[in-house]
């Protein structure tokens, strides 16, 4: 499709400039202080969608941050592609580790450094520009709908209600999502599954006030010590999660599936070197890719308590806190695991402290069948632009809304991600390669073409 290529080549620099404008908006959904930035970002997207050729774009307010919906309907007899993505980003902290401002996008060595460059503004914007390419070159094959939300990074608390109440509006034949990674530009891959999530926060209270650790040390339980003991008990010596019932619903992969997974190119030594660790760590009996793909995990996302400033303070603190999340695989159910986790922590909490545990958010695991029309179209599209058939892989992250779309709209999700695992998602110095950004814009129109043809 020479006409797409020419259009994109001519407008290359503008595409990037427009993305930079989006990246400059600090749309951090977890923080109340950024509420107006999310509105600003939704508004900017609306205008870009209209300019790109959408017939109508509406901003739907929610109890949290708004949802941007846009569409271009060319022919009711043609299939409809629903593009889902999110314009909110993770908090940028710790700020001191960024080499450039997180909201001041900067290109170094052909990579865009900015919070949201890959997750997910950069990948959402590929769809806007691919859509523009097809509209402006009069080569749309499918009806196109966009549903871009502002709360993905906080667990999409209001998307469920929106989708349930707008089933007709969102009616489509597949959901296309670019919010994941591929192995590399040399080795294209497609995620055929994402893990679910159960994210909780715990507060352990010992004494009712901070105490002098000399005067009271030895008399009363230290909430940090107790919290550490509780956390330590959650993994056994084989790094299995030792919460009774945790693995009960886990779908066990067949030897055949595991053999297929083992074929994906993976160098354990290079992987460890890239992360700067002498040894990898994880559940005994499973390979690294299995541990991040088909096995559930339990991670500590944060911990704090007592004096954390410069120097020394001899305090025996009143409280200690932790943020803990589990990644779930088919057929685990998020609510069930959350209950299991909270009940277990309450059960093991000793009588000298008080425990409060509460849910932040959850999401269900999801698997896309590789024989679906959507997957086949994605695979053909990537083959067209990469020159190689993509490898199906299981992703470790979570996109909690996949099972929602399937349940409410009865359609399959396909994950055509163009990021890399090394893109520092959720970390300082998040990046997105220019090559991946442009490759995405090039590949997406092929998806629409093949989806209409298959």
């Amino acid at each position: 499709m020479q006409v797409w290529k020419e259009y994109q080549k001519k407008n290359k620099d503008r595409f990037l400039e427009e993305l930079f404008e989006l990246l400059r908006i600090p749309s951090v959904s977890a923080k109340k202080e950024h509420k107006d930035d999310l509105i600003k970002c939704a508004d900017a997207l609306k205008h870009r969608l209209l300019e790109a050729g959408a017939d109508k774009v509406d901003i739907y307010p929610t109890e949290g941050h708004p949802i941007v919906y846009g569409e271009k309907m060319i022919d009711p007899s043609k299939p409809t592609v629903l593009v889902y993505g999110h314009y909110d980003v993770q908090p940028a902290e710790p700020l001191e580790l960024w080499k450039h401002g997180p909201f001041d996008p900067t290109i170094v060595d052909g990579k865009i450094f900015a919070r949201g460059s890959c997750d997910d503004k950069g990948q959402v914007y590929m769809h806007v520009k691919a859509f523009e390419t097809m509209v402006k070159t009069n080569s749309l094959y499918c009806n196109v709908k966009f549903c871009i939300e502002g709360e993905e990074e906080v667990g999409s608390p209001n998307l469920g209600k929106f989708v349930a109440e707008h089933k007709d509006l969102l009616k489509a034949d597949c959901v296309l999502i670019s919010d994941s990674a591929m192995i590399s530009l040399d080795t294209p891959s497609i995620d055929v599954g994402v893990r679910g999530l159960s994210y909780i926060e715990v507060e352990v209270t010992g004494p009712n006030r901070d105490l002098h650790s000399g005067v009271y040390g030895g008399a009363v339980a230290n909430p940090i010590t107790i919290l550490a003991k509780m956390i330590a008990s959650l993994h056994d010596e084989n790094n299995h999660i030792s919460i009774p019932g945790f693995y009960d619903d886990v779908a066990i992969a067949t030897e055949e599936e595991r053999a297929l997974m083992a074929k994906a190119p993976f160098n354990e030594k290079e992987y460890a070197e890239d992360l700067g660790v002498k040894e990898l760590w994880g559940e005994k009996g499973f390979s690294t890719n299995e541990r991040t793909g088909i096995r559930p995990t339990l991670e500590l996302n944060g911990i704090w308590g007592g004096y954390t400033g410069e120097g020394a303070k001899t305090v025996l603190p009143s409280k200690a806190y932790a943020k803990i999340s589990a990644r779930l695989v088919p057929n685990q159910i998020s609510q069930k695991i959350t209950d299991l986790l909270i009940n277990h922590l309450e059960k093991i909490a000793p009588p000298y402290i008080t425990l409060k545990a509460s849910l932040h958010h959850g999401g269900e695991p999801y698997v896309t069948p590789i024989d679906s029309k959507a997957y086949q179209a994605a695979a053909k599209a990537m083959e067209a632009t990469f020159g190689k058939e993509p490898i199906p892989v299981r992703g470790g992250g979570s996109i909690p809304i996949c099972s929602l779309f399937e349940k409410e709209l009865g359609i399959k999700v396909v994950f055509m991600g163009f990021g890399l695992d090394s893109d520092n998602l959720h970390s300082p110095n998040e990046k997105y390669d220019l090559a991946n950004f442009y490759k995405g814009i090039e590949t997406i129109p092929y998806f629409h073409k093949y989806f209409a043809e298959l």
Copy 2:
């Protein structure tokens, strides 16, 4: 001594006003940003000592914060009392828990609320005003020297060198310190021992950068999980410290000593209620007072790592940190315990993380013999103003410089403290009762009188 009483009654309000001026200076020694406040505080003390009647007062710079030295020599044949105290204070954090500004002293229900009100500005200033009382009423019995430092709360790193280099200047017959507590105004007591200290900080590094907990969760060790496991292993199921060799040098109290300690009035139920805990916690086989007095302890003073802000962030952090301190009893040696602790942590650190452990500060345990002249003078002084003989008790806190004075100057320390354990030292809403402040000013001159007479 009616003349003292009259002088103090007449100047009561001024004494308090002057203390408030000192309390308003945020002389937090642990934080570099307060360097100038410490200089300001030392300066203010110098002027107050001169006004009170000191012959000379000098400020000795150190590599850290300065030391204030003042003296009034009346007669070389009379005994000399060296008053030691500190004008620096603990950090005030967490600020949001203070009912009044920590550096805006406020009287509520007859108590002075401010950082340093009890520890130790309020108690140091009793000595300045007791000294003034004796000078202005022409009733000094002893030569008096003051050594007031600005680094007690960070482990007195420069006092040792100062004392060693100024043995003649500091030559005295006893060291008198008011930086501890008594049981209550109804039950006066004198600390006959303080615990030593070994305070370290550990940094656990997992991967070389913060990671997405979905993409990498299960593949690589989480430094928070590992740190929690290491901390959890430091106490066994009986809450004994499980570091090999930790108890080797602990002086075992005789049954007689334990029986004497058990006589001090103590209500375990009220103690637990005051702290708001359902159950107390500690080393099996020892009473609460024994656990805070004659037994060593290991406390977590702080912990942090990963995302600690509002909401949820699915990060697998690169680093986790903890501040850990041990309280030591005779005959443990601070440096030996520090080495033991750091070596043990290094030994149990698993290969998938990197551990850095370093010393913040340490101090030796100390015991005052109750048959010493200084203890006897303190006991008689308290009996004169409280109408009861004080009870000798073992304090849980640390005053690292006691063993230093004994070693360099060859003299005994006596702890005549007027605080209460409930004064929220090192915590939000630190307080000092007006009654205790004035009782201290009333009692101290008797100490000088009896020390000269005994």
